[in-house]
């Protein structure tokens, strides 16, 4: 009896009320918070700019920025700059996607492409694209080519690896089923892997479009005669902070538009996934 091990017990505890880590809010509250997310910083900016605490040259007020924006819009500079920047992102990002998607597709499907490409792309993507600007200027001059090249360099490696990841998500079982149904490799690539991976590919594009938009402006800060980045450097020369603010807001709004467009496209293409 005594050499039986006693059953270890823990002292009595009163249960404590716990809550789930993730919390939810009502739709209405969510909309109020969304509005506050934009309006509070705007109000703070406005208050600070009219308080006289900061000099007007450093921090122009919202109405001044609005006027400066209108001026640039009416003179035709701003629309021309927007078009120039959009043209560059269209060419540079478009080229990057045209390279990245097939490359990523190959990496995600062909056994030999992964070990061949992953190491070199893994290294290249950690080299900051902006550090290539001097090299690019030496290689291809200060014209459009160097700006497009910067965009491509900045985006293509990330986009390739993210595409490869999306492609690898396709379940092996689905590929087996397709082969049993008599579909050859080309058909499986086009009719099974591509549709399955497309939402993921678009997600990758959305993330990288934001990066591309950053690189456009960077490229135009260096050596350009048009574009939103160029317009900022011009304004800086004449201490026109109101113009800089206006351009920054335009840049933000265009970025947001690109993001929402790709998001809608993604939702449409990926309806089956929800």
């Amino acid at each position: 009896m005594t050499d039986l091990m006693t059953r270890p017990e823990i002292p009595a505890v009163t249960p404590r009320r716990v809550k789930l880590l993730k919390t939810e809010v009502s739709r209405r509250t969510a909309w109020i918070l969304r509005a506050a997310s934009v309006l509070v910083p705007l109000a703070a900016w406005w208050a600070l700019s009219v308080s006289g605490l900061v000099e007007d040259t450093f921090l122009p007020s919202p109405p001044e920025v609005w006027t400066a924006g209108l001026e640039m819009a009416e003179s035709g500079d701003l629309p021309a700059d927007v078009l120039a920047s959009l043209g560059r992102i269209g060419a540079g990002f478009g080229l990057a996607v045209l390279i990245a998607v097939p490359l990523g597709f190959a990496m995600g499907t062909l056994g030999w492409a992964q070990p061949l490409l992953e190491p070199v792309i893994g290294i290249l993507r950690y080299l900051p694209a902006s550090a290539f600007i001097p090299l690019l200027i030496i290689w291809v001059g200060i014209g459009e080519a160097s700006k497009i090249a910067l965009l491509v360099l900045g985006v293509v490696f990330f986009n390739t690896l993210m595409t490869a990841d999306a492609v690898r998500q396709v379940p092996t079982r689905l590929l087996e089923v397709s082969a049993i149904l008599g579909a050859g490799r080309g058909r499986v690539a086009a009719r099974v892997v591509f549709p399955y991976a497309l939402p993921g590919i678009l997600d990758a594009m959305r993330v990288n479009a934001a990066a591309a938009w950053n690189f456009v402006v960077v490229a135009e800060l260096i050596a350009a005669t048009s574009g939103l980045g160029y317009r900022i450097t011009r304004a800086q020369r004449f201490l026109q902070t109101d113009r800089i603010f206006a351009i920054l807001i335009v840049i933000g709004l265009i970025g947001l538009t690109i993001d929402i467009t790709l998001r809608l496209l993604r939702a449409r293409v990926g309806r089956w996934a929800t």
Partner: protein
């Protein structure tokens, strides 16, 4: 002549690790139109057996022959359905069923007719244009079986197709697959870990042993046709089920003792 038709496995072995066969010395003849079920403890290579017939894997030794022709890879003369329905989630039910016919190059009109017939057969005609995500597990499995049957395969391979379904649905599906088999007349080889299911559905039950997987028993099931739920309560059924259960248990114990 009689030798050439049906499914035949000759001295088939499969090793994933050299020297450690998962399956070994499998000799098997399945005449056309037979319903064969395969049971065995886990690790007995049941699924591997189906993969070899499907052509998803090649035997390390021996040959798999279908109507006298060696199986060298996957193809539409053998249909297969898995435990997960594995449908194309962006394709409607009808277009899922049509996939194999598209790959085969069947003209659109013929395709549409065949798909309509199959959906009628599996009782899902009104879901033709619905995405698979909207269907229940049992319905998805019906689509997957219809898809596997679309190209008129000579053999239908089923890898634990009802393993993830609830008891009621499973029972429906068992009667359903029997009905389909009678209508279509194709050979069925079905792997299951459910002995009751194996005895209820099979005209013949193969019991696999483990390490390596071999056919330890080949039992002919002499139960009245068609198999109804009453058959399931008959003394012969219960006796046969107990016998197969004992065999599987013995294999399982032997396997446990070795590891």
């Amino acid at each position: 002549m009689g030798d050439v038709t049906g499914l035949r496995l000759e001295g088939v072995a499969r090793e994933y690790v050299p020297g450690q066969p998962v399956l070994d010395g499998i000799d098997l003849d399945i005449p056309p139109g037979e319903f064969v079920t395969v049971v065995g403890a886990s690790g007995s290579g049941k699924s591997t057996l189906l993969c070899l017939i499907a052509g998803l894997a090649r035997p390390t030794r021996g040959r798999v022959l279908l109507d006298g022709q060696e199986v060298l890879g996957p193809g539409p003369d053998r249909g297969m359905a898995f435990q997960t329905a594995s449908l194309y989630p962006w394709r409607s039910v009808a277009r899922n069923v049509a996939f194999g016919l598209e790959a085969l190059g069947v003209p659109k009109a013929v395709r549409a007719e065949r798909v309509a017939w199959l959906l009628e057969e599996v009782g899902l005609s009104r879901y033709a244009s619905v995405l698979p995500g909207r269907l229940s597990g049992g319905q998805q499995q019906r689509v997957s079986i219809a898809r596997a049957l679309a190209c008129q395969p000579r053999v239908l391979l089923l890898d634990e197709p009802f393993g993830a379904l609830d008891v009621q649905t499973k029972e429906d599906m068992q009667l359903f697959i029997r009905q389909i088999w009678q209508d279509v007349g194709t050979t069925v080889v079905m792997v299951t870990h459910d002995v009751e299911e194996a005895v209820f559905l099979g005209q013949r039950v193969l019991v696999l042993s483990s390490d390596p997987g071999r056919i330890s028993q080949d039992i002919t099931v002499d139960l009245p046709e068609p198999r109804t739920l009453e058959v399931r309560r008959s003394a012969e059924f219960l006796a046969l089920r107990a016998r197969v259960e004992d065999l599987v248990r013995a294999e399982h114990r032997a396997h446990q003792a070795r590891v």
